[in-house]
């Protein structure tokens, strides 16, 4: 028993790595239930009529890709199916190439009929956080004089319709921290009443519950689980759904370690008392 309480943590790391790898290798599929928060986000996008402009903000970097990349994939796919006009941008400098990667994986591959400038636009990255948001609400051309490909923003057909942030029907932020979802709630929703939804890393999901409850946030996808639920809603289980099976097994392992650790602890204490 004493050995169990003094177990080298590297064995725990190894066990976790093996369990996750095994779950992925056997392609284990476990059921995913849809939560109300994810359905609200889905309904917001789903309720918009074709041709409506929406803004997608990639507010994460490669470090948070496992959680947010599948979600961005699913939501972008949903928007493309609904024929929404997507304006893309990002607040994280190291996240710039992620927008391009997603355009390649989703739009160019599965929606080749969509035209750049008409159906979607990549504005790229801009530093300034909330100053950029407020500036976009006044005049989007001032905040982004040119897009990611150095085209003048005011020459793009989609951007002629979207002259300010107030012209988009919803804002979707894939958020790994600050600047991200909270900033969009505080500035886009509170100041200009533009509906905000999106996803965040699991670490920050509890923090956003308050904003959901107060209806400042229209739905939320927390981490990989949220992404898996959204994949189910659009009827296309992908990386997040597979990942959630590994996630469940990982949690079982942690629970097992906690139970074993507690049994060992109480057994030793009882023995010492005797």
């Amino acid at each position: 028993m004493t050995k169990l309480t003094q177990l080298d943590r590297r064995w725990i790391f190894l066990a976790m790595g093996l369990v996750v790898a095994a779950a992925l290798l056997v392609d284990l599929k476990m059921p995913v239930t849809i939560s109300q928060d994810v359905r609200r986000a889905y309904d917001l996008i789903d309720s918009l009529p074709a041709g409506t402009p929406v803004l997608f903000s990639w507010d994460y970097d490669p470090g948070s890709m496992p959680e947010l990349h599948p979600l961005a994939d699913a939501m972008l796919r949903h928007a493309m199916r609904k024929d929404l006009k997507v304006v893309m941008m990002g607040h994280w400098v190291t996240g710039i190439p992620l927008i391009e990667r997603q355009i390649g994986e989703v739009i160019r591959k599965d929606f080749p009929g969509k035209a750049y400038g008409t159906d979607y636009v990549n504005l790229g990255y801009k530093s300034g956080q909330y100053v950029v948001v407020v500036s976009m609400a006044q005049n989007i051309y001032d905040a982004f004089p040119q897009d990611y490909y150095h085209n003048r923003t005011d020459t793009l057909p989609l951007m002629r319709k979207v002259r300010s942030l107030k012209d988009v029907a919803a804002i979707v932020s894939f958020s790994a921290g600050d600047p991200g979802l909270l900033m969009w709630i505080q500035f886009a929703w509170q100041r200009f009443r533009i509906p905000v939804t999106g996803g965040c890393t699991a670490v920050s999901a509890p923090e956003f519950s308050a904003y959901l409850q107060s209806n400042q946030l229209q739905g939320l996808m927390g981490g990989m689980r949220g992404a898996a639920e959204y994949e189910m809603l659009i009827g296309r289980p992908a990386m997040a759904t597979t990942g959630m099976s590994a996630q469940s097994l990982g949690h079982f392992l942690i629970i097992a370690f906690i139970i074993i650790g507690n049994i060992a602890y109480f057994a030793i204490r009882k023995r010492e008392e005797k």
């Binding site: 976790m16 996750v20 290798l25 959680e67 710039i96 801009k126 982004f144 505080q186 509890p206 981490g223």
Partner: protein, 201 residues
């Protein structure tokens, strides 16, 4: 080139994960590469995405109409006085703008989103168990953080209930944190086993 990138990324991931065994030079190498590349990337991206389109290009092409851009341009350059021992006091001017704009914009945003809207959302009718639990949780937790009265008797009991609410909240936050960390491991496993080794279905 894509294959080379995948191999390089996979080897760097393994270098980072080697820290789980123990601190070692391979981990330190990968860590330094990450920090260096991020910093270099940041400088280049800021120049091409912000300084060039928002300042230099308008000044160069349309100087007559956007001469006011000189002011933020000069203020931006004044930040570099941080490197001068004699003139570093000059960075107070650009910093005062940054702090002033930041405070001016965020105070109202925080007040409306984090205080007023939350208070408004808490003022709900006690017509369901869910609402009673919710309002009860807010009030008892607030009592726990009220330190002007001794936590004895009724106040103590209420504060103790608040502690239970706090523990549940911390538990939920911890559960989500565990999920986040495992998600990162899953993402890297999907990369190593899928993109690199091609052994995932």
């Amino acid at each position: 080139m894509a294959v080379f990138g995948t191999w390089l990324a996979a080897l760097l991931v393994l270098c980072i994960y080697s820290f789980l065994y123990k601190d070692n030079p391979l981990y330190k190498f990968a860590e330094h590469v990450y920090v260096g590349v991020s910093a270099g990337y940041f400088v280049a991206a800021e120049y091409h995405n912000v300084v060039l389109p928002n300042l230099l290009t308008p000044l160069y092409r349309d100087f007559a109409h956007k001469f006011y851009l000189i002011i933020p341009g000069i203020l931006g350059l004044m930040i570099f006085f941080a490197f001068s021992r004699k003139l570093n006091w000059l960075i107070r001017f650009p910093l005062s703008f940054v702090v002033g704009i930041g405070a001016g914009l965020t105070v109202m945003a925080f007040l409306s989103a984090d205080v007023l809207a939350q208070v408004q959302a808490t003022a709900m009718p006690l017509n369901s168990l869910n609402n009673v639990l919710f309002v009860g949780g807010v009030l008892t937790t607030l009592v726990y953080f009220f330190f002007s009265a001794q936590h004895k008797g009724l106040v103590g009991g209420t504060a103790q209930l608040g502690v239970w609410y706090l523990m549940i909240a911390f538990g939920a936050a911890f559960g989500y944190t565990v999920m986040a960390r495992i998600s990162l491991l899953i993402g890297q496993m999907q990369f190593l086993l899928g993109n690199w080794l091609h052994i995932l279905k």
